[in-house]
Symmetry: C2
Subunit: 515 residues, 2 copies
């Protein structure tokens, strides 16, 4: 069922127009690395790929909401940089998890251990953040006429502070939609509606993320005057990676700087132990048999792995400690990493929480994007949350999420009471309850390795930001930027936004002015 919120007609294509569109989209993807690597079919000498899932037509999105997300990203960057620098607040907010949850306790332990190493120097951290939103339709009856007024509100789904993916894919697909628009693939569809390029916002996410890495690289020099002329950025990655096309362009862009910045990849785990060492001043050294600059002093560690508990066996823990304990700028640090847990998101919705970190004037902008969030512990808020979750009528308006990062394990609406009935009460506190975001659907067309889909779709906007800050004698934010966006759509009846599984499709927002 398609909502009637959006005013534009759904796209209508003749068979020839659709064929033209598909043909052009596939060829664009092939020629621009908009692909998924089929790692299971990889051979030494070759590897097959397929186009990543995309929306064939940009999906409508309220212009004011998009602009709001862009405008407040600087505040979110500041907020999370400050939260990540507030050990005491995090220790309090996550105390149950540090005690009971294996992943949180491992990370916290590594953090504490890393503090025991020599931290005399100023600590610099880089955050590459992505704040994910959906549109919430807020309906209210005007008291005078009893007519229903509908307002579109930007509501945060989650905040990602670790290993944010999709920036490169989103950039390429944004360029693809601009190209398809330019060649006229959409002209005959939307008729006389404004299809100027201002409706398709530009996306410079690749360069934006890279500017963050470059700033961090230079900041490392500035704060380590003994650093050698050549230092480099180390990408910590997973071994068999479908999503290589999302990572590699960032490395290429570093190498392509006027003064090339060496960028190498290292698989999280044993390789980190074998191919790095810590120098006399805490510098991280990359000693790879394939790196001609070996030992290469590392300025920035960029994490694209290490986000799953399974990666933290003894060697994984030692690897993370090696990285965290070094002088290198971490993107992100462990304290930044744990800000990504949904428990932190929920703690920030508590009255007065934001005010600890940012000016009152900014709190309102941030708070307006919060959907109501409840813990399921035995606190006052937790008891409210439990009540909402256990009553099938109120549960229907909520989603139950594991408090730690990582999607795909959510429980929706009326399934929640049964789920809780089968779940020991002792671990209820590892979930948060979020009011469902009632996002408008629209008619869309998705193309992914799963097939072609035409029908109602739901979209999610991710706003990308970078923040570079230092701690030590004083806290200072050195850089704070909005850098681009991701935008994904999925069939309405699918709960997952997973790109690798072919459900989530990269898309562009077609900005429209709504009431």
């Amino acid at each position: 069922m398609t909502d009637e919120f959006y005013l534009l007609q759904p796209p209508r294509f003749s068979e020839e127009q659709l064929e033209f569109l598909i043909h052009n989209a596939k060829d664009y993807q092939i020629t621009h690395g908009s692909l998924l690597k089929l790692v299971r079919a990889e051979e030494e000498h070759s590897v097959p790929t397929r186009p990543v899932g995309v929306s064939l037509v940009p999906s409508q999105f309220p212009r004011k909401c998009f602009e709001q997300g862009v405008r407040i990203q600087g505040i979110y960057n500041e907020l999370y940089a400050k939260v990540a620098s507030d050990e005491a607040w995090l220790a309090q907010a996550l105390k149950d998890y540090i005690r009971d949850d294996p992943f949180t306790s491992i990370l916290w332990e590594i953090y504490l251990e890393s503090k025991r190493t020599n931290f005399s120097h100023r600590r610099i951290s880089l955050g590459v953040f992505r704040s994910d939103y959906m549109i919430h339709l807020h309906k209210e009856q005007t008291s005078a006429t009893h007519a229903t007024r509908v307002d579109a509100e930007l509501k945060q789904v989650e905040f990602n502070a670790f290993s944010c993916a999709g920036g490169t894919h989103a950039n390429i697909v944004a360029n693809m939609h601009q190209h398809l628009h330019k060649i006229g693939a959409y002209r005959t569809t939307f008729g006389n509606i404004d299809t100027s390029s201002s409706s398709l916002p530009p996306n410079d996410g690749i360069n934006g993320i890279v500017r963050g890495l470059v700033s961090a690289h230079h900041a490392y020099y500035a704060s380590n005057r003994n650093a050698p002329t050549r230092t480099g950025v180390l990408f910590i990655v997973q071994g068999r990676n479908f999503n290589i096309c999302d990572e590699r362009p960032l490395e290429y862009a570093l190498w392509d700087q006027n003064t090339p910045i060496p960028a190498y990849r290292l698989i999280f785990g044993p390789d980190v132990i074998e191919q790095t060492s810590i120098g006399p001043s805490g510098e991280l050294l990359f000693n790879s048999p394939t790196c001609p600059f070996s030992p290469l002093e590392i300025s920035v560690v960029y994490m694209r792995a290490g986000y799953e508990l399974e990666e933290y066996d003894d060697v994984g823990c030692a690897a993370r400690l090696r990285l965290e304990g070094s002088r290198a700028v971490k993107c992100p640090s462990i304290l930044s990493h744990i800000t990504t847990f949904k428990k932190v998101q929920q703690e920030l919705t508590k009255a007065g929480a934001l005010e600890r970190f940012i000016d009152e004037s900014k709190c309102k902008d941030i708070r307006s994007t919060f959907a109501p969030l409840y813990p399921l512990d035995k606190s006052e808020q937790g008891l409210i949350g439990r009540k909402l979750a256990l009553n099938p009528d109120t549960a229907g308006n909520h989603v139950l999420k594991p408090s730690l990062e990582g999607g795909g394990h959510n429980i929706y609406g009326r399934d929640i009471p049964n789920f809780l009935a089968e779940t020991p009460e002792e671990i209820w506190h590892t979930f948060v309850l979020m009011e469902i975001i009632r996002s408008p659907t629209q008619s869309g067309m998705l193309m992914s390795p799963r097939g072609l889909y035409e029908g109602p779709v739901l979209s999610e906007l991710g706003v990308l930001g970078t923040s570079l800050w230092s701690e030590g004698s004083e806290f200072e934010i050195m850089e704070n930027d909005y850098v681009g966006w991701t935008f994904k759509s999925k069939a309405e009846d699918v709960n997952e936004m997973s790109v690798v599984k072919g459900y989530g499709c990269f898309d562009s927002p077609w900005l429209v002015d709504v009431p």
Copy 2:
């Protein structure tokens, strides 16, 4: 067996270095469209691809020969522009073919027919040329010491004037080798040999070819003052195309001009008849249901199809006539097309032939790249050719090639006498006999869908050039440029350089100073 001509040691990699190199090469290819489309496995919603064959390590090539090829490309451009404008000379050179060979006679007939349409306007033609060379080792004993002196000479394999492929792939693979060099993948291999980037010549082939198309586009305006503001370039292509990655980037670059130049694709054959028409002044109009600018006046027709006899059924002939008879700039015209036949190459080796077209001072430069070529007809030269071909001893030093364009049907060395014995003498004249180019082999490493190959390889350099000229009241060359190169290597024991079959691998010349 590897020749000992090249002075550098063959590359030696540790297992880790090789893995690093392969890994980086594959990822670079995936992210930069260095791919072949697996058209047989294409589905409506998806299409698998694989990396195109590449040489993992640039192959050595004498610097002086590379520079010679670049230097003389302007002369070759001029020569072929003039040959393509000399109907009388072509009619004489190809008279047997126009009479007997189905493909030549079809093209000639279309050309004559197109002349009957209104040709009052100045005719402008664009050539995108590729002159293919191999290194010939010329050995002579010095009379004084009886020592053998070896000299490397650049010898032309063939000259391509129609639908030259590989420019985009070569550009991307050149960039890949530069990148692999930058990240240090070759440093530990070649030791102290000069590995500055001057050894890896830049390749800007994509932009170069596009500059040619853009010049032709503007020249169309200049000579057709009534042309509408918006005209576009039409790519005439094959329907199911493995090699889409070689073509599409040229279109994108046209769209990405400051003032975008519309570029659309049209499949050679019935689609040309259905989706084009000729306007009142001979202008070619593109009337596609998917083109929002329809009818779009076409400034330049860029042919990437129509090079095989099989494409010229009645509809194919009508399609080519429609294009050729229009006002649009053809890339190439039919007369340019037929200059690509090897018979023309052989005719140009005749004494005095070059002097008809270009200054005497330039003839020497061109002639020095000719390998001895003979017809097998009953002319004086032809009788010499027959004698060489029929004697197994002299045949061993030759290769027999069909006189028309297209590789893969060559007969080599001692197989020639038997082949001729089984071939009716009446069609001997459809072959030319070329002295074998004795190219030095070197140790190489190739990676293609066929597998990894380590062993002796042979390389072929293609020099890309564009030429824009006009005919009418007077002949004028308006543009004449060297624009880039292609470089391919194959295993020594394979005769084919086919990229689609996985034999020919894109490579870069590693320029070395040889005696």
